[in-house]
Assembly symmetry: D2
Homo-oligomer: 303 residues x 4
Amino acid sequence: MSSAMEKIAFIGIGNMGWPMAACLVRQGYDVKVFDAVPGRADAFVQEVGGAAAHTPADISAGVDVIITMLPTSLHVEQALTATTENISAGSLVIEMSSGLPSVTRTLAEALALRGVAMIDAPVSGGVERARSGTLAILAGGDLAALERARPVLEAMGSSIHRIGEVGAGQAMKALNNLVSAGGFLIGIEALIIGKSFGLDPELMVDALNSSTGMNNSTKNKFKQYVLSGKFDSGFGLDLMVKDLAIALDVGAAGGTATPFSALCLELARSTAGLLGPGRDHTEFARLPERLSGVQLHAEPNET
Amino acid sequence: MSSAMEKIAFIGIGNMGWPMAACLVRQGYDVKVFDAVPGRADAFVQEVGGAAAHTPADISAGVDVIITMLPTSLHVEQALTATTENISAGSLVIEMSSGLPSVTRTLAEALALRGVAMIDAPVSGGVERARSGTLAILAGGDLAALERARPVLEAMGSSIHRIGEVGAGQAMKALNNLVSAGGFLIGIEALIIGKSFGLDPELMVDALNSSTGMNNSTKNKFKQYVLSGKFDSGFGLDLMVKDLAIALDVGAAGGTATPFSALCLELARSTAGLLGPGRDHTEFARLPERLSGVQLHAEPNET
Amino acid sequence: MSSAMEKIAFIGIGNMGWPMAACLVRQGYDVKVFDAVPGRADAFVQEVGGAAAHTPADISAGVDVIITMLPTSLHVEQALTATTENISAGSLVIEMSSGLPSVTRTLAEALALRGVAMIDAPVSGGVERARSGTLAILAGGDLAALERARPVLEAMGSSIHRIGEVGAGQAMKALNNLVSAGGFLIGIEALIIGKSFGLDPELMVDALNSSTGMNNSTKNKFKQYVLSGKFDSGFGLDLMVKDLAIALDVGAAGGTATPFSALCLELARSTAGLLGPGRDHTEFARLPERLSGVQLHAEPNET
Amino acid sequence: MSSAMEKIAFIGIGNMGWPMAACLVRQGYDVKVFDAVPGRADAFVQEVGGAAAHTPADISAGVDVIITMLPTSLHVEQALTATTENISAGSLVIEMSSGLPSVTRTLAEALALRGVAMIDAPVSGGVERARSGTLAILAGGDLAALERARPVLEAMGSSIHRIGEVGAGQAMKALNNLVSAGGFLIGIEALIIGKSFGLDPELMVDALNSSTGMNNSTKNKFKQYVLSGKFDSGFGLDLMVKDLAIALDVGAAGGTATPFSALCLELARSTAGLLGPGRDHTEFARLPERLSGVQLHAEPNET
Ligand SMILES: NC(=O)C1=CN([C@@H]2O[C@H](COP(=O)(O)OP(=O)(O)OC[C@H]3O[C@@H](n4cnc5c(N)ncnc54)[C@H](OP(=O)(O)O)[C@@H]3O)[C@@H](O)[C@H]2O)C=CC1
Ligand SMILES: NC(=O)C1=CN([C@@H]2O[C@H](COP(=O)(O)OP(=O)(O)OC[C@H]3O[C@@H](n4cnc5c(N)ncnc54)[C@H](OP(=O)(O)O)[C@@H]3O)[C@@H](O)[C@H]2O)C=CC1
Ligand SMILES: NC(=O)C1=CN([C@@H]2O[C@H](COP(=O)(O)OP(=O)(O)OC[C@H]3O[C@@H](n4cnc5c(N)ncnc54)[C@H](OP(=O)(O)O)[C@@H]3O)[C@@H](O)[C@H]2O)C=CC1
């Protein structure tokens, strides 16, 4: 892609990071990977290619670009701290997790003192679009750094939006997920009302999809993950709750009052409390199901 | 379309009814129109064609199909009562208003006793799609009656969904509008949070539209009617509140508990209370704007 | 109390009706009782005194005052219809259930045509205060009828408030229960937040009770029925949900927008959906407990 | 009170601090006061007695006990930092503001390193009870420090609850205010529903007060500050919003999901956004008034 392709370190090869790093390998990048789960980096090398780092510290030795794709900003802070000595001046950190803008800004300031640039570039689209390299990328940071990152980002995504300064991408990402979660929840409640009235959920989803009730969840999640009873989108409920909390936090910092969003967060948090850990975000549907005693999917509802 | 085209009475030629009746005229139907606003039927005949009824009673004399497109079920009840003597056995009533399923069912039962069939076929898509004859039609009623209505409906819409028995179309319509209103509100709140954080509303809408936050409002309403400050979609706030109330009513009848939807209705009702009558439904955005003191559109906010 | 004490029919001797009718017997009234549960009227006569009616129809034969204390207005309508022929002109109906103002008004109009007066006089205070004859009575109806009823009401209650015309007592009753339920729920959520922070629920209740957080639930319900794990106040969750629905219905009729109250109703309805029938209204506490995974009472939480 | 009465520094003599410090003077304590508002300390000395500090630093010179009564924990942090050098080992800080438990704990740890004890002892009851020395005091801290503080606290309050370790008093205070605000809001919404139905607000408040809808707001705020149109309780809306945010923050830290409380906070924040700064907390009533277009108080509603 670029005449002299940058050498890349990729930290966090989980549900999203794995297929994203795989896109980079496919594009010909020299990629070194690391993950906290033992053996995962080696598995990646075997299945996909690239090299593995074996300690948290040596991941950034000898690379130009360091990508982080971790659950939360806390993990990013730890990962970067562990390897800080090995990050050479002139390199670029691309933080792609859905993280907290305030933490990212603090990290960016600290790295700047060492001559290291940092942008944030969280993604939207889920595991499917990570695999096909067609993620939507919401970036924040100064223009020069973003231009430098562009070829790397284009290997993973099909649209790149610069939203503002560093942290802005993550703020936008959280807001995007808030809108997504709200559309999911109101859609599920509508299906539940309709089913209690005697309507067929599949027909209702079709009707929404050709009407103004259409949203990303009615199109890509309801039949696929909820009505099917599969609940296997690959995006965790805990991660969704984290994103909503970031969105509301961004709002509270700005002093805004957003009752509808606040209720959405609380209901998501309630679902996580009710169901326990390890759930898919599409299991958000189980809250209105339980509260109203109406089940949308065929299978018996496990406790 | 059909070898012997049915003669049609069209009651209610307002924002939606006018362009819908015009589609029928364009398709070659023999259309008689009536509206409570004096002079409106004559204006239609002059601009578009067809004939005008001059009393509420004579609108259904000599026709095969009677279409109602009125603000609420109450209006439909009055309109049909006024002309009941003139509805001949064997004709078909197509109720296309966004009405109350329970009232529609009662009307259908009464008409059945007189040998008159009735289906409900409310529409989604707004004035634009009414003009182009590409509405989404959500129908309820028995199959034979719906098949008879199909050519007429196809003159006005590009997709026809049969959701269930009579009333089911209106239940679905209300649920569709609930999902639409919820997606609108959560999207506006997200823009407000983002703007208070320093992000640009236009960029945010673009980002939502290529990400999972996409919904019908982010695509077709935010830039067009809200950020532009135009608020002229042509669908009234009072009508939206009515639809949400129907959706929740369908739910309460089924005994369902839907907190997120209930809050959406109350906030919509609050907006109507706060702004007074005669507002566009996109002015729903003014509630979060006022509550948080952040304005999304450029113009000074009028009281 | 009055020189010539009125003869009284008492329909519905359930949790509340039984102790209320017992107060009348204790005050020397001649009381005839009836209940849909077979044998209950006879049990009352044996334990407390008075006479039993054995068919729904004969309960009002030969009496001056007919008291109804039934679950809902629907039951009241049925009970009065069944005995309508036996209600003599000049008698007085005192409807003491927590019913729907609109239904009560319709009943009152029908009775007025037969020369029978009707007031509504629902009560607040629960089973304890019913036993001790110290209920708060919220009455609606014209002054003369209310004055006639006063001695009878004073046998059961310690405060009598005339709120307005017939139906006003029931509207006020529903609103009272809304405020009560809201105070209960916000108090329980506060205890849950506090417990998750490490505070002791008993100490928190004491602190609320000497501070501005005090309300009827913090005083009379939290330690008694929730922290104790007893959940046996004697006022059913289904009845509470009914009252909240009436309160919101009164509001919707008036076109008011009350988001906080609407959420309270939906959460109450959710609790009833989640727990199933036959629950005490203090089990409303189980919803926030489950949603947040924090339990306030000692015993293991049954499903 | 104690044989050798402690010398007291009082920082923050605003709406609450002034009458509280005055209680101490009346009880014979040697009190030195300071406030950020120029001239206020001197005014206190002239009207009430005691001595004035003239720089933020010298307030704690030569005293045994330092009391803080400031708007937020941020102010407390600044005030204590400014005078830190003058706080002698062995003295006791009593933080009486409604502050953030986490900040207070951090301050307490820092002071402990200097041999200074700290407890938190926020108050409930408002300006009236501050004047009469009958506040409810919600304390957190170790037992010895609290026992030492007791005589001083008893000069200002009539009940002292130890809730737990340092910070626990403030957590409890925030939760108390959450319950208080929730009771206020649901009560106001009920009055609005009732008024829209035709009921008289004064009669409704009386009815609530003798029924289960009774709470501290129905008793002490509705007639006094809302129906009267006075809105002059002396407790600011901004301070109430701060307390609710602390309560929810305590909850979020514990991972709890409390939808009803979250909506209460958002609606309070909305009211503050809608009305602008300098409002009394009882003006929370103006939100449901505006949202529903029903006004409870007689005077014309100013913008
Ligand atoms: N899944 C999805 O559909 C989407 C996810 N996202 C966001 O992308 C980010 C990643 O999500 P996802 O891939 O699903 O999460 P996963 O939990 O699947 O992957 C994260 C991986 O990083 C590892 N890890 C944690 N800490 C470290 C560390 N210090 N050094 C190296 N590795 C570490 C984790 O190990 P361990 O399990 O041991 O913690 C895990 O294997 C999140 O911020 C998420 O919100 C964005 C869009 C869509
Ligand atoms: N319990 C409480 O603390 C309070 C209750 N209330 C209100 O008082 C009313 C009564 O409540 P409560 O006593 O708890 O209810 P219960 O269900 O305990 O009692 C109602 C009784 O009426 C019987 N009944 C139903 N229909 C008829 C009929 N047509 N003729 C004769 N009897 C009939 C019921 O029988 P069956 O069970 O077979 O239906 C039942 O035995 C309700 O409106 C409630 O909301 C008010 C204040 C407090
Ligand atoms: N008012 C009430 O009814 C109740 C209040 N509370 C709580 O008590 C606390 C005080 O409230 P209240 O008295 O109403 O508030 P006020 O704003 O009336 O008083 C606070 C005073 O402290 C001054 N101040 C601010 N910073 C400093 C500083 N660094 N050094 C010295 N003085 C300073 C303020 O000056 P300036 O105005 O210049 O900032 C102001 O005069 C708050 O935490 C509140 O939540 C608790 C119960 C009831």
